[in-house]
Structures are given as structure tokens and as C-alpha cells.
């Protein structure tokens, strides 16, 4: 178990992390997500004991990590880290991968056996004799992962492990990470700026924003119940509306947003100022009003922008309030959606996540 308690990190005058407190359980996959430059890598480096926090404590299995270097080496040998930019040491791929084993004093035969096994695991069988410096970025990334895996770490730290890989390799590496977690019960901490990867991989996610934790929770919490507008924007919630509760009957509220009434499930009494979050995928379009639909909200509007995104299309609609929706390209074509098209924006009352607007928002959401 890894525990951060009120950890601050400063490099000289520059504050990198502020007041981080969280626990990573044994055997879980924990993802740290956040925009570039928010200190995700620093979190991993702190766990790997490559740096000491400026304030606060970090403990591993109940043991504080501010200990003499010799003991830190012993603790570090229970972990392995894969850095974002993979390093090729001089020499062959096999020499590169067995470096950590050599440091641990393993006999040559054992090292060779483990290197061969690891090369198979990362899909590079037979690469042992190649010069590491001649590999491509993707191959080198897999060598770096193999170099970490051969040491059979209890804690595996992965800093943007697929940032340099193509989609096929990314899929393979993700599968590999999941299978390692399953087979060996390895605790895995991944930093990524890729929200969807965070969602695919993690048992729990910590969103780092403005140098501190914006929210911690499982992927459902983070993606559907963001605690602040900043977290919501980070995880792809494109519709963030501010309003106030006009009425509330048994948890079904009418929220006034710029004069438009929106039905939403929430517990807040009338008069409460609220922020309403709606994911773009939760919006459907209707060409005519359909009272039978399960969507309680059907608002007339006009399309103001259509942006293709591969198989999906992002559509912006002005309906008194501006909405952004993501629909499939096929639906877009079938419905003849284009600029100026009149339609109805529909979404369920339960698709909205409503949080009270406060000056001081809670730092962590459900599941923290």
C-alpha cells in the first residue's frame, strides 16, 4: 500500500504539487490523469523514491520513505518504473533488459531465462542480440517495459507508457499491463493524459489539476460525476451549465439555466445555485418533438457548427443555451444534420450531473 499524506513538492521557488493525500491499495491499477506539466510524472518519481517531497510524508506498506539511502535502494528494488522517454543503454537489448537483474546480483543463467521470457511478453522474441540503439521508438518502449518487468516488481510505475506507440502497439501494451496485474497482483500506477486510456485501465483514477488532486474515484465517478467544472472539462464533459434549482419534487428538479428549464435528478432544494454537467455522448437529436421518448428534456434548437472527428461528429446547437453533442457520422448523415438545421436536443434527467455551486468546492468526490 502506498500512502501520500499532505505531500508538497517544490523545485526551488516553483511549486509542482500541493497537499496531495491519497492511498493506493495493493494490487490495484491506479491512474493519474491530468494535462501536461501538472506534476503527474513527479508523483511517480516520488513513489519511486527518485525525489523527496518538500513537505508531507510518503509511506509504502506503512513504512515512511525518508530513510537512509541503503534502505531506499532495498525499497526501490521492490518497484520498477517505465519512463516516458525510453532510454537505450549501450550494448545489446538483452544487456539492457538484464541491467536491473545484474544490480540485484542474479546469476547469469537466471538473467538469461528472465530476459528471454520478458522479450516474449512484450512481443520482441529474438531481439536479444540487437543493438539497443538501433531500435525504433516503439520497440525501445517495449524494451523499457521488459526491463521493468524482469525484476518482477511488486509496484510497477508507468509514466505515459504508450505515448510513443501506434494504436496497435498501444492495445498490446495495455493488454500486457492488465494481464500482469491479474497474474502477479502487481500494484500498477500509470500516468496518462489520455482520459480514455485512464478509463480503460484503471480501478481508480486521480485527476491532477492546478498542482493538486481535483478528484479521486473510479472511472464512473470521474467521468459521470465530476466534482468541479475543471475536472469535468478535463474528462471531456463539454456541456457545463450554471443555473439554480427552481423546484424539486422527490429528487426530480427543474433547473433554470439562462431562462431555460431543464429537468434533472438531484437532491438540492429550490433556490440552490448549481452547476450542471452533461456529457456530449448523452445528447440525442430528434427531428420532431417526441413526447414518448424517455428523455425528459427536449429543447428546440438550431445547428451552428458540425465538426467531423473520425467515425464521430461533434455538433454544436444553439437552443437558448449552447449544447455540444457527439453522434456517429452515420446518424449525422441519415438525419441530414448541417449548419442551420432545426432540431430538438434531447437528454434524460438522469444523464445530468448536478453539483451545488459553492465558493469552496470539496477537493475529492465520491469514492475518495
Amino acid at each position: 500500500m502506498i500512502e501520500f499524506s499532505h505531500v508538497d513538492m517544490r523545485f526551488g521557488e516553483k511549486e509542482v504539487l500541493r497537499d496531495l493525500s491519497f492511498t493506493i491499495e495493493k494490487g490495484e491499477i491506479f491512474t493519474v490523469i491530468g494535462p501536461s506539466g501538472t506534476g503527474k510524472t513527479t508523483v511517480l518519481r516520488l513513489i519511486d523514491l527518485l525525489q523527496n517531497p518538500s513537505a508531507g510524508t510518503i509511506s509504502i506498506d506503512g513504512r515512511e520513505t525518508t530513510i537512509p539511502e541503503r534502505e531506499r535502494v532495498a525499497l526501490r528494488r521492490r518497484m520498477a518504473m517505465v519512463f516516458q522517454k525510453p532510454i537505450a543503454f549501450r550494448g545489446s537489448v538483452a544487456e539492457n533488459i538484464s541491467l536491473g537483474l545484474a544490480f540485484r546480483g542474479l546469476p547469469r543463467e537466471e538473467r538469461q531465462a528472465r530476459v528471454t521470457e520478458a522479450l516474449g511478453l512484450v512481443g520482441l522474441p529474438g531481439y536479444g542480440d540487437r543493438k539497443a540503439a538501433t531500435l525504433s521508438g516503439g520497440e525501445l518502449q517495449r524494451v523499457a517495459i521488459a526491463r521493468a518487468l524482469v525484476t518482477r516488481p511488486e509496484i510497477l510505475l508507468l509514466d505515459e507508457p504508450t505515448a510513443n506507440l501506434d494504436p496497435v502497439s498501444t492495445g498490446k501494451i495495455e493488454q500486457l499491463i492488465l494481464s500482469i496485474n491479474e497474474r502477479f497482483r502487481t500494484t500498477i500506477v500509470i500516468s496518462t493524459h489520455d482520459m480514455v486510456q485512464g478509463q480503460r485501465m484503471a480501478n481508480r483514477i486521480a485527476v491532477i489539476l492546478n498542482r493538486t488532486i481535483g478528484q479521486i474515484g473510479d472511472s464512473h465517478d470521474i467521468f459521470y460525476h465530476p466534482s468541479t467544472p475543471e475536472v469535468a472539462r478535463m474528462v471531456g464533459v463539454e456541456n457545463i451549465l450554471e443555473g439554480w434549482v427552481r423546484s424539486n419534487e422527490n429528487g426530480l428538479a427543474l433547473v433554470d439555466v439562462e431562462g431555460i428549464s431543464i429537468a434533472a435528478t438531484c437532491p438540492y432544494p429550490p433556490g440552490t445555485g448549481v452547476t450542471v454537467f452533461l456529457r456530449p455522448e448523452d445528447i440525442v437529436f430528434l427531428l420532431e418533438k417526441d413526447g414518448r421518448s424517455s428523455a425528459r428534456n427536449e429543447l428546440p434548437g438550431t445547428v451552428s457548427r458540425v465538426t467531423p472527428m473520425g467515425a464521430m461528429v461533434k455538433v454544436r446547437v444553439e437552443a437558448g443555451v449552447r449544447f455540444t453533442a457527439v453522434i456517429t457520422r452515420r446518424s449525422c448523415e441519415e438525419m441530414g444534420i448541417q449548419n442551420g438545421k432545426d432540431l430538438f436536443v434531447a437528454f434524460k434527467a438522469t444523464a445530468l450531473h448536478v453539483v451545488p455551486r459553492e465558493k469552496e468546492r470539496p477537493a475529492t468526490g465520491p469514492g475518495a
Partner: protein, 228 residues
């Protein structure tokens, strides 16, 4: 003018015919300077590693002193070692003054600062990310130093070759500590100095050509290593 041309012609003859005295002096020069280079490497590379990786008070000052000693005049190195090895000096009992052993010590003293400095430069050229990776892989502090020295080995070897170049080409310390004794401590540089002053231009030129060839080999080796 004719004397000079004659000198070059005779020098060529001395080299081509493998004149025993020329061969003997060259071999002695190579043995003394190579031995000094090896000993200096064994001292300077670990010290360079320690200075680079350890944080301590006065580190910056120490590095400045080392850099100043790159230009340590050879006669000063000679004087220092002379004081140590002379009969009244602290190491006088070893009886190394005016011996090849004493010359090796003098050349070692001369090139150690240069090699420490070159090791520091080589190690600071190793990316921080490589050091992090090594530490993260579970290396103990000695393993970190040996691994990074291995990573920087070509740059460090460049420093070693520079050190050899300085050792074999210096004349001051070799003269003061060796005494230029024929058949015993006479090396390329001291022989050139003596033979020139005695008007024996042919031998001087022959030895000079050999010294230049050695310098060229060293420079070429350095260039090839830095290309890697």
C-alpha cells in the same frame, strides 16, 4: 640550410634502419607514459565519479582547483615530485629519484587533474534521464557510478588519451625527476632537448618525427573515439 636537410635525411635513415638507440628511447618513453596514464586513470576516473555523484561543501571550489591544475606547469609538477622523492623528502627512502619509477610518479601527478576534469565533463554529458533510469532499476550508489562511467566510457577514454598526450610530450618533469640518464631515464623529449643543444640534429629530428607520429596517432584515436 644544407645542415638541416642533411639532418632530415639522416633522421630518416635512423628511423628506417631501426637504430637501436632511437628504438630504445622510444620504447622507454612509451612504457613510462603509458604506465603513468594507466595509474592516473585508475586514480582519476573513480575520483571524478565520486566528485560528480556526491554532493558536498566546497564541490564547486574543488572543481575550479582541478580545472586550474590542467595547466599545471610541468616543471612545477617536477619540483613537487622532486621534493617528495629527494633524499630528505617524505618518500626519499624509496630511492625513486632519477629512476623511471620516479618519472612515472611525476607524469601521474601531472595528468591526474586533467583526467579528473575530463571524467567530470564526460559524466555531466550523460543525460539526467539515464541516471534516473539506473537508480530506478535498483542500483546501489557504487553501481550507479560504475554504470554511468560505462555509459560515458568513450568520452572518458578521450580524457585518458589527452592525458597520455600530455604525459609523453612533457619535458620539464622528465628532466628533473629522471635526470636524462642515457640508457636508463632518457626519453624522447629529454633526448631531443639534449641532442639539439649538443648539435646532434639528426637524432633530434628523428626523435621529433617519432614524437609527432605518436601525437598524430593519439589525436586520430581521440577523433575516432569522439565520432562513435
Amino acid at each position: 640550410m644544407n645542415e638541416i636537410i642533411d639532418g632530415f635525411l639522416q633522421a630518416g635513415q635512423l628511423i628506417i634502419t631501426l637504430d637501436p638507440e632511437v628504438i630504445e628511447i622510444t620504447t622507454r618513453s612509451l612504457v613510462i607514459s603509458l604506465t603513468a596514464t594507466l595509474i592516473a586513470s585508475a586514480i582519476a576516473i573513480p575520483i571524478g565519479g565520486l566528485i560528480h555523484f556526491r554532493e558536498f561543501g566546497g564541490k564547486r571550489g574543488l572543481i575550479t582547483i582541478i580545472q586550474t591544475l590542467y595547466a599545471l606547469p610541468t616543471v612545477l609538477a617536477g619540483l613537487l615530485v622532486f621534493l617528495l622523492l629527494s633524499r630528505v623528502g617524505p618518500l626519499g627512502f624509496l630511492g625513486l629519484l632519477f629512476t623511471p619509477g620516479g618519472m612515472i610518479i611525476a607524469q601521474t601527478v601531472l595528468v591526474v587533474p586533467l583526467m579528473i576534469g575530463m571524467t567530470l565533463i564526460a559524466l555531466s554529458g550523460v543525460k539526467r534521464a539515464i541516471q534516473d533510469e539506473v537508480v530506478s532499476l535498483g542500483a546501489g550508489s557504487t553501481q550507479v557510478i560504475t554504470t554511468l562511467v560505462r555509459e560515458a566510457r568513450f568520452a572518458i577514454l578521450g580524457g585518458v588519451i589527452l592525458g597520455f598526450g600530455r604525459a609523453i610530450s612533457e619535458v620539464g618533469a622528465a628532466m628533473m625527476i629522471g635526470g636524462n640518464i642515457r640508457g636508463y631515464t632518457r626519453v624522447l623529449t629529454t633526448a631531443i632537448a639534449l641532442e639539439t643543444s649538443q648539435g646532434n640534429l639528426a637524432l633530434s629530428i628523428a626523435l621529433g618525427i617519432i614524437l609527432m607520429v605518436i601525437a598524430m596517432v593519439v589525436t586520430t584515436a581521440l577523433f575516432l573515439i569522439q565520432e562513435r
